[in-house]
């Protein structure tokens, strides 16, 4: 990854954190959507705000981007307080909201022109900037097409391009890849990595554990409006314990026999009947070879046997006692104002 001299300069200029949340609280009537959330994001780094739907991620971002007033507490973006100097906050950050908020009746180029002129850039500045941005986001060919004809991934990329027109030092991305197919998601990750290499500070919310794992330097896990864990992806994975051995049995009627066999070689076995899977704690690859030979000598037919390192999914399970998907179903829609389309897309 290339780090330009510019980005280096920007990093050297860095003094305080780019984003700070200080005891943010947001209540809607009796409902507390965000409950005493504090964190800080150093310049040029990426913070992943991770949690299921309805956890309070969007509300947190809305408060930090001046769209919503905190009930108490405050936040600072590039050193500017959202309560006392919202105008300066708006000057120093870009926001890509949950739904791709580009104008679908304008072309890609016109969308960039729209935001560029609202930022006060001149026509010539916008022209050269939009050429760069469209190229950077692989939209050069689509630049003069009306956004209505864009795919979901293209809209997202344009959305991001539009947010970058005024070169914000801090960028908020609310579920940037929700509703994208896996390929577009990976493409967008690449773009985000390039931005960070250029010295941009990112705060992204996501319900995809993999995404936070891939992009974030630090992760804040939030559930029911509260921070329940914080750390680097590695630290969080360590919290959730060891790797696991996963055995998938070919025939459901052999599951019980397999369980018995496995149980005599490991400390404990977890059975998932639907998936015909047995899970047991493991220390490393040696366990895989050991258990493989055990099953080799038996009648039991296996589909798969392997080592599963803890994912952030396991972290979530460990922290909340439930899987991220279950949490989504339980809690329901993200609680913000009702003008937002609700992101129903489950996990891929």
């Amino acid at each position: 990854m290339t780090i330009t001299t510019d980005a280096r300069a920007a990093r050297e200029r860095s003094t305080g954190p780019a984003i700070e949340a200080e005891h943010l609280v947001k209540r809607f009537g009796d409902m507390t959507a965000v409950d005493d959330v504090s964190f800080s994001v150093p310049q040029g780094s990426v913070l992943g705000l991770l949690g299921p739907n309805g956890a309070g991620k969007t509300t947190t971002v809305r408060m930090m981007t001046t769209l919503s007033t905190p009930t108490s507490g405050t936040a600072r973006v590039a050193g500017h307080d959202v309560r006392t100097d919202p105008e300066a906050v708006r000057h120093s950050m870009g926001l890509t909201g949950q739904a791709a908020t580009v104008d679908e009746f304008l072309t890609g180029r016109e969308n960039i022109l729209l935001m560029g002129s609202l930022y006060g850039l001149s026509k010539t500045q916008i022209r050269s900037a939009s050429d760069e941005l469209l190229e950077r986001f692989s939209l050069t060919d689509a630049g003069d097409k009306v956004v209505k004809e864009y795919s979901g991934g293209m809209r997202r990329r344009l959305d991001l391009a539009v947010s970058l027109i005024a070169a914000p030092r801090v960028l908020f991305l609310d579920e940037p890849t929700t509703g994208l197919d896996p390929r577009s998601r990976v493409e967008l990750w690449e773009v985000l990595r390039a931005l960070v290499a250029d010295g941009t500070t990112l705060l992204l919310t996501t319900q995809y554990l993999e995404e936070a794992d891939q992009l974030a330097d630090r992760i804040v896990v939030i559930d029911h409006g509260r921070i329940i864990a914080e750390g680097t992806p590695l630290e969080l994975k360590d919290q959730s314990g060891k790797a696991a051995l996963v055995v998938t049995v070919s025939h459901a009627d052999q599951l019980e026999a397999a369980r018995g066999l496995l149980a005599s070689h490991v400390r404990e076995v977890h059975v998932d009947e639907g998936a015909r899977q047995l899970t047991a704690p493991a220390d490393g690859l040696a366990d895989v070879t050991r258990i493989a030979s055990v099953f080799d000598g038996s009648e039991i037919v296996l589909d798969d046997l392997g080592l599963k390192r803890p994912s952030l999914d396991d972290v979530f399970l460990h922290l909340t006692g439930r899987r991220a998907e279950e949490a989504t179903e339980e809690v329901g829609d993200e609680v913000t104002d009702d003008t937002e389309p609700d992101p129903k897309g489950g996990r891929p």
Partner: protein, 284 residues
Amino acid sequence: MSDTTVRHDVATARSARLTIEPPGLWKQVRTHVWRNIKHIRRMPEMLADVTFQPIMFVVLFAYVFGGSINAGVNYREWLLPGIMAQTMAFSCFVVAIGLTNDLNKGIIDRFRSLPISRASVLIGRSISSLIHSSIGIVVMAVTGLLIGWRIHNGFGKAVLGFALLLLFGFAMMWFGILAGSRLKSAEAVQGVMFTAVFPLTFLADTFAPAANMSPAWLRTIAEWNPISSLVRAMRELWGNTVPLAPDSALPLHHPVLSTVIWSVLLTAVLAPLSIRAFNHRTTD
């Protein structure tokens, strides 16, 4: 060419762009108007309400009902200011639907995250709707000229008539902003606005003389309807009218003044309500 070169160019240009002054309110408003006009150009069918629809009304009333309506004067001349007023009253639909769509699609949030005046969105929306309706007025005028409508009292009064029409349109904008901020979907806006505005334009001195309406209370409502004042004012200024029935309600005796008063009054009541509704909808 290496990736490094490209990325470096981008980075340099990006930092150069950081020293930009925010635009003044007027430039922001112009940008919003530009966007809304682009929408009309992308979706010419948006203009149906100010083209086909009023033309249809002209044809319907001038040729279908016209023979049976006794206005005491050349009905087609008498009718035209009425349809122009109706077209202008309907322009609040455009504001309301545009606003609701923008709110629902989250684009208003995006604007709110920019360092721009929050009023610029509403001002831009109102100006583009007035432009939208003005297209309708031109279409109406041409249609009118084709079917025999004429302005008889000279240029000055003609302009004053159109100015009153725009003034009333401006007052109706606020109603559009109110509805657009309160209602949650374009469908709801269509339904509610149609139910509210459509009768308002008929229960007036627009298509049939209010003086012939009975029972008497219906006539009173029609004559106090702001649209009746506007229509009467245009007819007087353009010479498309008949002498007023002496027992008509007070506003119709001073139609120009009443139109101004009605417009100011509507704005004074609706503007604070609609700005409050918009702020309420966009802040939490």
